[in-house]
């Protein structure tokens, strides 16, 4: 997509030590104490009338520059050097041969560097006073509502002040590729707005230099550069570092690059953001050389610095507002989860939901075995497969990408929903994950020339970069990519994860407390059951026994009515005794551990039949047993199920002269189903809901003995076997109860 090659001879080139200056000015390099000349640009011979060799080693007061005598220059230097930072008083104006010049001083690299450059009001000079420029710039900053608007005004202003044919703001993006985001140009020029330039166009050490020296003017790419004599200065065995000079000649590679683009003269001003190079104001001139004098450069620099500050403040404001909003939403979500005491509901069921946590357009939450989604997401299957892949791919608690399809090929099919993914691992053990999705942002990138082109292989096979020859617009479609996740989005997601996990832990603790309470309740129930079984049954048997004894001893003296009353007392104790026994069984069924076994159903059912028929008139009731597929279950409990079902069938057929009850088993792929059918009174389906409820009896059953526990026990046992129980009935025709046991 962009050249990733960083081994460029451009990058290796020592651009701060070129050993050359541009030809429009003069350079002297002096001993900062004695003002002895260490180096001079070769063009100074025109002014001094001395051959270059003669000047070196001389004190500056022995050299006159044009009609500017050396002693005046020396006085100037003496005054400037009283202050340790001579650049503080730049520029110093002098007149040489009737022309106005600026003397620009700075100390660097152990030397006092003296630059002479024309003070030129005519060629592209400042058309506005500094005060006017400042006022206008400030008001532009204040009035612009958007960053784009501010950029527009800035390029127009810079163009007006400098007179360049084209002024652009070039913004560095990911990987240092740059995009032209604002442009002011002469009408006949082809627009560059929106074009991208590969990172190799402005190599790394150039960018480093731009961070230090904020303004560079290349006056005329066609003018040969002027060497500095000698190559190395003073006792240093190397050329002088020209980083801070305005006259520094740029790399011939860069000159060639500009020439290829048709640029005659250029200027660039750095835009800084938080100590890093954010972009450049880049000026091109095509029609001829363009020299921007020191004062104007300073003005433009000031404009760029104001812009940088505005950029920083605006960006900070925007970042802070975004960050505050995300933080507020995160707090809201946490509150919702707390208030609802439900993570899924708190995250998804309110106006502020998990989609307000960031710039995502879709969200999926896999929690407690269920998948919940919001907004625009891939299908459930796609999400589950994606989660599987993510689990295998990352061991971190958070994972993010803005180009999922490039990492995970199946995502190509849903890149319009999820080219960007931000995933939180809530719990690997519980398989719980929270994911956000962003759509692919298909955008066309128009490069200023084919970005692949600068890579060339030399004859020696060495890969090198060379300035591109073609600047024709070169378009490329960027696929599979979403807008990247911002740091604050990831940070907020992690905060949400913390809150969520804390809530899960609190809920888990609550469940533990509940479990403990449940255990205590069970223990109490156990004690209660014992009380019921023993302490309640004992007095009941006393009542019955004494009633029987009384009848035995005094029965002969009692009339029939008195005997009938005793008979009722005894019957009542029987009913109560049965009720207690059944309730005990019911509670036992849920507490007793299941001891499943493969049950021989034929034997079991025949035994049950025998038991339930013991008290019946055998000729009246027939229980026919059909197929008896074996099943897995707890012997005691399964026996109880069939005992209860058969006892019921017999009980509700009692009014018939002949009752036939059938038991029929069958086997399906998943389960064993038994049906118990009678032709008794039947069940009105209107009351179907009551049938399995504890202590519930139907109207029609009122005249039959019973207490409404039998079928409740059946239901409980079937639940414990993960089975089912249901029935079909037509009153006075048939009733069939079905029980199914899973295989």
């Amino acid at each position: 997509m962009q050249p990733v090659l960083e081994l460029t001879n451009c990058e290796r080139e020592p651009i701060q030590w070129p050993g050359f200056i541009q030809s429009h000015g003069y350079l002297l390099v002096l001993d900062p104490i004695t003002f002895t000349v260490w180096q001079a640009s070769e063009n100074t011979d025109l002014l001094t009338g001395l051959s270059i060799e003669d000047r070196i080693g001389k004190s500056v007061d022995n050299i006159s520059i044009g009609d500017l005598s050396g002693s005046i220059l020396q006085e100037l230097l003496k005054v400037a050097m009283r202050n340790s930072t001579p650049e503080a008083f730049n520029p110093y104006s002098v007149t040489i041969n009737g022309q106005l010049w600026y003397v620009l001083l700075h100390k660097h690299d152990g030397a006092l560097i003296v630059e002479l450059e024309p003070k030129e009001a005519t060629r592209g000079g400042l058309s506005l006073s500094m005060t006017t420029l400042l006022t206008q710039t400030m008001s532009d900053v204040q009035r612009s509502t958007t960053l784009t608007e501010l950029m527009e005004k800035t390029v127009q202003k810079v163009k007006a002040v400098t007179g360049f044919d084209r002024v652009m703001i070039y913004r560095f993006g990911e990987d240092w590729n740059g995009e032209v985001i604002a442009e002011a140009r002469e009408e006949e020029l082809e627009p560059f707005l929106g074009l991208f330039y590969p990172a190799s166009d402005i190599p790394k050490q150039a960018r480093e230099l731009y961070k230090i020296n904020l303004v560079r003017n290349i006056v005329d790419v066609n003018e040969p550069r002027v060497p500095i004599y000698p190559i190395n200065y003073a006792t240093y065995n190397r050329p002088l570092d020209l980083t801070h000079t305005g006259l520094r000649a740029v790399s011939p590679i860069h000159i060639e690059y500009l020439q290829n683009m048709g640029v005659r003269s250029s200027m660039s001003i750095s835009l800084m953001y938080r100590g890093e190079l954010w972009g450049l104001i880049s000026c091109h001139h095509y029609s001829g050389p363009r020299f921007i004098d020191y004062a104007t450069r300073q003005s433009v620099k000031l404009v760029s610095q104001i812009l940088s500050t505005a950029l920083e403040i605006r960006q900070n404001d925007e970042d802070a507002a975004f960050s505050r909003q995300l933080h507020d939403h995160e707090q809201t979500l946490y509150q919702q989860m707390l208030t609802d005491w439900d993570i899924v509901q708190g995250l998804t069921k309110h106006p502020i939901n998990a989609l307000d946590q960031n710039t995502a357009t879709g969200m999926a939450l896999l929690f407690e075995g269920a998948l919940h989604t919001l907004g625009d997401t891939p299908t459930e299957n796609d999400i589950m497969s994606l989660i599987e892949w993510l689990k295998a791919t990352t061991s971190e608690v958070v994972f993010q990408t803005n180009q999922l399809p490039n990492l995970y090929t199946p995502a190509e099919l849903f890149r319009e929903k999820a080219a960007g993914v931000l995933m939180l691992v809530l719990s690997r053990e519980m398989n719980e994950y929270l994911l956000w999705f962003k759509p692919e942002q298909i955008h066309s990138v128009s490069w200023g020339g084919n970005p692949e082109k600068p890579v060339e292989v030399s004859n020696g096979g060495e890969v090198r970069l060379s300035p591109r020859k073609s600047f024709e617009k070169w378009s490329q479609l960027v696929r599979n990519k979403a807008v990247p996740w911002q740091q604050v989005e990831v940070a907020t997601a992690l905060k949400l994860r913390e809150d969520l996990l804390q809530l899960v832990a609190r809920k888990a603790n609550q469940i533990r407390v509940l479990n403990e309470q449940l255990r205590l309740a069970y223990e109490e129930l156990e004690a209660f059951s014992y009380t019921v079984s023993h302490d309640l049954r004992a007095p009941l048997s006393s009542i019955k026994s004494y009633s029987e004894i009384y009848l035995e001893d005094y029965g002969l003296q009692m009339d029939d009515e008195a005997k009938a009353i005793f008979g009722k007392v005894i019957k009542a104790t029987d009913r109560m005794s049965m009720l207690i026994r059944n309730v005990m069984q019911y509670s036992l069924m849920s507490r007793t551990d299941l001891a499943p076994d493969l049950l021989a159903m034929k034997t079991l059912l025949h035994q049950v039949r025998e038991e339930v028929l013991v008290s019946e008139n055998e000729s009246r009731v027939t229980v026919s047993i059909g197929d008896t597929p074996d099943l897995h279950g707890d012997q005691t409990m399964v026996t109880q199920v069939f005992t209860n079902l058969l006892a019921n069938a017999i009980k509700y057929s009692r009014h018939l002269d002949r009752a036939t009850i059938t038991v029929q088993g069958r086997e399906t792929e998943q389960e064993i189903i038994y049906a118990v059918t009678d032709q008794g009174i039947g069940i009105d389906m209107k009351q179907a809901g009551k049938v399995f409820e504890l202590f519930q009896r139907l109207d029609t059953a009122a005249k039959y003995e019973g207490n409404g526990v039998g079928l409740a026990i059946v239901k409980r046992i079937m639940n414990r076997h993960r089975g089912k129980v249901w029935f079909e009935s037509l009153p006075h025709q048939f009733t069939t109860f079905y029980v199914s046991f899973p295989k």
């Binding site: 079984s533 023993h534 048997s541 006393s542 026994s545 104790t573």
Partner: protein, 141 residues
């Protein structure tokens, strides 16, 4: 000589038992003790029975839910002592919980009778038990 030692805390149950026994053609001899600790002293010749042993019963009828030592503990200790290792122990309890039944047999009970909760039924079951343990069953010589 003692035929039956009945360990029962419920005086009504004891009452019904006495009546049933008294109505038998040849009433057996019996002693009723109302708690487990006393029963253990009696059978293991401890406490007030130490040095002056009471007659050993031909079988013991034990309720399980007793104050002090439970019926289970009585069974366990009686089975553990050499003197009473083979003494017939018949559980007589209102519990039909399979767990109780299994535990009683595990500890060494010889039989498990469920209290029927009615005078007539008690009568039937007791006649049977007495007939079996006193007349039919052979003792460890």
């Amino acid at each position: 000589m003692l035929d039956i030692l009945y360990i029962e805390d419920n005086s009504d149950e004891a009452d019904v038992f006495k009546r049933v026994v008294s109505r038998l053609p040849k009433p057996p001899t019996y002693t009723v003790l109302s708690n487990g600790s006393e029963a253990l002293n009696y059978l293991l010749q401890k406490g007030i029975y130490e040095g002056q042993p009471a007659p050993m019963p031909r079988f013991v009828l034990i309720d399980l839910n007793l104050p002090g030592h439970s019926g289970f503990e009585v069974i366990q200790q009686v089975r553990g002592a050499s003197l009473t290792r083979y003494l017939p122990l018949v559980v007589y309890s209102s519990s039909d919980n399979p767990k109780d039944i299994r535990r009683a047999y595990d500890l060494g009970a010889n039989a498990y009778l469920i209290k029927p909760g009615s005078y007539h039924e008690v009568s039937t079951i007791m006649r049977g038990a007495i007939e079996f343990w006193l007349a039919q069953s052979q003792y460890m010589p």
